[in-house]
């Protein structure tokens, strides 16, 4: 097993005929993901990725013709919230929104609509997810992974690659790697991903990669303290040296009014039994110290 995606996932790529969509759509397909459909209003009936993938005008059409059950959105910020809603309306259960730069207020009703429909939204402004050896959705380079039993959840993009590469180099494989996104309003916070990993029989250890800003790491830690006592866990928090009041790139990465500090996150994670690394390269070693034998 795994979480969110696996070899049976049937993916429709919103914006497959665009620059990002075609590049990453091809990479997803090359990794083994079932990219069954593309979505570009007005280009229905055409094909993409060298004629191998049919393109549709609407998600409803894509589902009817291909049985798509997972959306991957590369649509620009102005249209991405609507693209998420279209997927939800059509009955897609799992939606990844890679798009960055969506105004936070646009996401409030969208996240609520996703919640009411009982669907799952990962992102926006996220790198996607990979279940090594099975499928990847989004922009994470497939080459950094190794099949295994460690669940990885992160708010970052390239920092995730750094950590995953370090794990793979050390022989520590992953069950699923999920980037939840760095925006202030995201579909699925750390806590929900930890709960899914907890329910996945093939995930035997966890790595959480957080950063300054917000309180999502603390919330996840509080839950882990109660429910994930016995599994090996390690974490890394970016921004220990970031000054207060400066937004560090991600719209969510800011310490303000003394909230969202690295110290508060590190303390909460350590109290919950996470081994907290000083560098992402230490993560696989810390998991082994915590008793992981994978």
């Amino acid at each position: 097993m795994s979480i969110l995606i696996d070899r049976s996932s049937r993916v429709v790529v919103h914006g497959l005929t665009g620059r990002e969509g075609s590049f990453h759509g091809a990479a997803m397909k090359a990794y083994g993901t079932q990219v069954v459909a593309g979505l570009t209003p007005g280009k229905g009936g055409q094909t993409a990725l060298d004629g191998t993938v049919p393109v549709f005008d609407t998600v409803v059409d894509a589902i009817r013709e291909t049985g798509a059950d997972t959306s991957c959105i590369f649509v620009p910020a102005a249209g991405a919230p609507d693209s998420i809603l279209e997927a939800v309306d059509a009955g897609i259960r799992t939606i990844f929104c890679i798009t960055e730069g969506i105004p936070a207020l646009d996401m409030i009703p969208v996240v609520e609509a996703v919640r009411r429909a009982g669907a799952t939204l990962i992102g926006p402004n996220c790198p996607g997810a990979t279940t090594p050896g099975q499928a990847k959705v989004g922009i994470i380079p497939g080459s950094i992974h190794r099949e295994g039993r460690v669940g990885v959840v992160s708010r970052s993009g390239t920092l995730t690659y750094e950590a995953v590469q370090a794990m793979t180099d050390a022989g520590v494989g992953q069950s699923t790697c999920v980037g939840i996104g760095g925006d202030p309003v995201i579909g699925t916070p750390f806590l929900d991903i930890l709960q899914r990993f907890a329910a996945d029989p093939e995930t035997e250890a966890l790595i959480l990669i957080g950063e300054i800003g917000g309180a999502a790491e603390e919330e996840a830690a509080a839950w882990a303290a109660e429910h994930l006592r016995d599994i090996p866990k390690a974490a890394f928090i970016a921004g220990r040296t970031a000054p207060e009041g400066k937004r560090m790139g991600h719209a969510g990465a800011i310490i303000s009014g003394g909230r969202g500090t690295a110290t508060s996150k590190v303390e909460a994670l350590e109290a919950a039994g996470f081994r907290v690394a000083g560098s992402p390269t230490e993560l696989p070693g810390l998991l082994r110290e915590a008793g992981y034998r994978g």
């Binding site: 609509a113 922009i139 992160s154 993009g157 390239t158 790139g249 560098s279």
Partner: protein
């Protein structure tokens, strides 16, 4: 993006919120004229207030908010305030308005609650002081209420907020203002709209009868940078004094850049990895000179621009380039670095680490151009710190 009080008040007025009159003056003479007009109002309080327009907190304590009882005095006071530099920022404008006869001060704001993924009203009958102070000294004096994520602020919810905060006889006005703050938030893609104080003020008609009114005496609005693209008219409200000159150049090239105090310049792709790189520089005993994220898919020209931003700081003694290629191609970055080094005026030691997409091609290019390279991030940080100190790693 932060905007000035006077501009925030204009946005509130545009959304139909009650704000007492004001005038913006850039010279003492303008302040005198404005003050004269307000003081001539027979129903007025006989005083005007003059407030520095700077984007920092604590204006009052720094002498940036003063009262005046005559046009002469207003001119003198405005001259004093316009001569101030508050927390490093020069005062270029003052707001002049009639001094209010305040009966009671409240606090009301609306802010993005990330955890709940909803908008949150924060209100208190203890206005006029910072809400953080109230939160610490008397947390029970604060009311919190979310807006509905789909319906916004139906009347009943606005009323509930007004009664819970304790606006008493002014509950109708308070509920209308709450709805107005929500409207303002959406109209301009704000992430905070704060009225402190939201005050009951007393005004007297010509016959001497007094009436009470709830008005926004001060206003603070911060805008979501991601929303600015659909409000180009708000770009003119940006205060360039409050920014570093490098901020403008960074924005032009869509580079996320924040100047820090250290001497090791950092160039990284991705915000999380950029913060991590700073953390590891510090851990290796160095001090980062900046946060810099060149974003995804950066090409050679962007890399050159980033290099110029870093070298703009004279105290930068070494540069650490850390690229984990995904969308970004390592060889593109390497070409940009080679080009930038050929153009740069100052010779600063550089340590380059490029992994991921096209790292092999990048390595060949860097080797040919004799760049100092590193394999792991920890090694790169250590080498950069050594280079800044002028020692070998």
């Amino acid at each position: 993006m932060k905007i000035h009080e006077a501009d925030a008040k204009s946005l509130l007025v545009a959304q139909g919120l009650p704000v007492p009159p004001w005038t913006v003056a850039t010279t003492p003479a303008e302040a005198r004229t404005a003050a004269g007009a307000y003081l001539a109002d027979p129903a007025g309080s006989g005083k005007v207030v003059i407030k520095a327009q700077v984007l920092v907190g604590g204006r009052g304590k720094a002498g940036g908010v003063k009262l005046a009882g005559s046009a002469d005095e207003a001119e003198r006071v405005a001259a004093d305030i316009l001569a101030l530099t508050i927390k490093g920022l020069p005062v270029r404008k003052v707001l002049v308005g009639p001094a209010a006869d305040i009966v009671k001060e409240y606090y009301l704001s609306i802010v993005l609650d990330r955890g709940a993924r909803k908008l949150l009203f924060i209100g208190s009958a203890e206005g006029g002081v910072e809400i953080e102070q109230t939160a610490e000294a008397n947390p029970d004096a604060i009311t919190y209420l979310h807006a509905d994520p789909l319906l916004g602020v139906p009347d009943h919810r606005a009323r509930r907020l007004a009664f819970a905060i304790g606006f008493g006889a002014h509950w109708k006005a308070a509920a209308a203002i709450a709805k107005g703050l929500y409207r303002t938030m959406l109209a301009y893609d704000a992430d905070l709209v704060e009225i402190n104080p939201l005050a009951v003020i007393r005004t007297r008609a010509a016959d001497g009868t007094a009436t009470e009114q709830l008005v926004c005496l001060d206003a603070k609005i911060t805008l979501d940078d991601s929303g600015l693209v659909r409000h180009p008219e708000l770009e003119s409200l940006r205060d360039l004094d409050a920014e570093d000159p490098t901020d403008l150049a960074a924005r032009e090239h869509e580079i996320a850049f924040i100047k820090l105090d250290g001497d090791i310049g950092c160039m990284v792709n991705g915000a999380g990895l950029a913060m991590t790189t700073m953390d590891l520089v510090k851990r290796a005993g160095g001090e980062p000179a900046n946060f810099l994220d060149i974003g995804g898919g950066a090409k050679a020209d962007k890399v050159s621009a980033a290099m110029r931003l870093i070298l703009h700081e004279p105290n930068v003694k070494a540069i650490l380039v850390n690229i984990f290629g995904g969308i970004t191609r390592g060889d593109e970055v390497a070409r940009g670095l080679i080009e930038a080094r050929a153009q740069q005026e100052r010779d600063v030691p550089m340590v380059v680490r490029i992994v991921g997409t096209n790292a092999t091609e990048a390595a060949a290019l860097l080797r040919e151009a004799s760049f100092e390279t590193a394999h792991s991030l920890d090694e790169a940080a250590a080498k950069a710190v050594a280079a800044a100190r002028g020692t070998a790693a």
